[in-house]
């Protein structure tokens, strides 16, 4: 951390950047972990790691995908380190998780639950693209897949959600 004159409380531009992006990092972590407490843990670890590695971020415009990839890796690391049990999606629903609450918008509520029920391999790239704004190439690089493979997963994710949204699914050789 840079030394700061005593008494000053002005945050650095990088700190402000973290603060600004934090809400979406928490959301992303939640959609990965499907557990609020784990999401919070992951984001705290992410912020610490990002702060330590801040010199690696040469272009602030790339901060969002950079932080999202750190969240994803911290999420994986947390499970490796603590051997946390995976969350049963039925359990999340049964708890009436307030994180899924909407303001009376039943359609949005259904969509959130449907997203939670997507297999990890579909949900993860979808959240990275829609919430994180990552390109197909960035997602492919992060997931170790080809770009066509990522597009297929995204297509299948949306195809499953189409039904919840009241649309006919597209033809798929899945």
């Amino acid at each position: 951390m840079n030394p700061r004159p005593r008494g000053t409380t002005v945050a650095s531009p990088f700190a402000r950047l973290l603060e600004m992006l934090r809400p979406d990092l928490v959301r992303f972590a939640f959609w990965l972990a499907r557990d609020r407490a784990v999401a919070e843990d992951v984001v705290q670890e992410t912020l610490i790691r990002a702060w330590k590695s801040r010199e690696e971020l040469k272009d602030q415009a790339a901060a969002r995908p950079w932080l999202f990839t750190i969240v994803r890796r911290e999420h994986a690391r947390l499970y490796e380190r603590k051997r946390l049990p995976t969350v049963d999606v039925e359990q999340v629903e049964a708890l009436g998780d307030p994180a899924l609450a909407t303001d009376g918008d039943a359609g949005l509520d259904d969509l959130r639950r449907a997203i939670l029920q997507l297999p990890d391999e579909y949900r993860e790239p979808l959240v990275m693209q829609v919430l994180g704004g990552l390109t197909t190439a960035e997602i492919a690089a992060e997931l170790g897949l080809t770009q066509p493979a990522v597009l297929t997963r995204l297509f299948r994710a949306r195809n499953r959600l189409r039904v919840i949204y009241g649309l006919a699914p597209a033809e798929d050789a899945e």
Binding site: T8, P23, W31, A37, P98, R158
Partner: protein, 218 residues
């Protein structure tokens, strides 16, 4: 279904907002795929809204006792490391995004010329919003905020220029004041949405905030 249509639909379902040129060309000639594209774009707007969880609900939940200490220690450590900025402020998630947005259009504060009725109406129409707060509007843009068109206005008041954002799809439960990055403002519930009123000088008077809320119709 032709192979061309099948290819187009996979591309649309994969990345509906960035289609390859050959798929765009196909859409020009295939009404069914155009409809599929329109449906997918519409679905994507809802998916985005679904993914943007209301973080206020996170705070309501009580963490499991076993991890309370770990979480507290983690937060404290993060605060020490990052220093000087508040890491956990889900309350201000919407406010922070409003401030970020307004910061990107800093030039709007300098607008002086009162907009004509038709010019303002054109902006409001794009968002499907009506606004008649009887205050002179000197800046109006149909901005995209959280994936929705949201009028970004600057109005002249006796207390100086104030930014008004009409957030048709952002329902909030209660009034919320904020003060960040040189801006002071307030978020107010307004029917099916909310409004944000910000100033760079002093505070947003209650009378101005009330005038804005009473003037908006979704």
């Amino acid at each position: 279904m032709s192979n061309e249509c099948r290819h187009a639909r996979i591309a649309i379902g994969g990345e509906p907002h960035a289609l390859p040129p050959e798929v765009s060309a196909h859409l020009a000639t295939c009404a069914e795929c155009r409809r599929f594209h329109a449906e997918t774009v519409s679905l994507d707007g809802r998916v985005r809204a679904a993914l943007e969880l209301p973080l206020t609900s996170f705070r309501k939940a009580t963490p499991a006792p076993a991890r309370r200490f770990a979480m507290a220690a983690s937060v404290a450590l993060a605060l020490v490391v990052a220093g000087g900025f508040w890491l956990w402020s889900p309350r201000s998630a919407l406010a922070s995004e409003v401030i970020e947005h307004v910061g990107h259009e800093a030039g709007s504060w300098g607008a002086q010329e009162v907009l004509s009725g038709p010019a303002l109406a054109a902006v409001l129409q794009k968002a499907g919003v009506q606004f008649d707060a009887s205050m002179p509007v000197v800046y109006a843009m149909p901005c995209t905020f959280r994936g929705r068109v949201s009028p970004h206005l600057v109005v002249q008041t006796a207390n100086g220029p104030m930014t008004v954002m009409l957030l048709a799809h952002q329902k909030i439960a209660a009034r919320e004041e904020f003060s960040e990055h040189g801006y002071r403002g307030v978020l107010l519930p307004a029917g099916e949405g909310s409004v944000a009123v910000l100033t760079r000088d002093g505070e947003v008077p209650d009378a101005v905030a009330a005038q804005v809320v009473s003037g908006v119709r979704w």
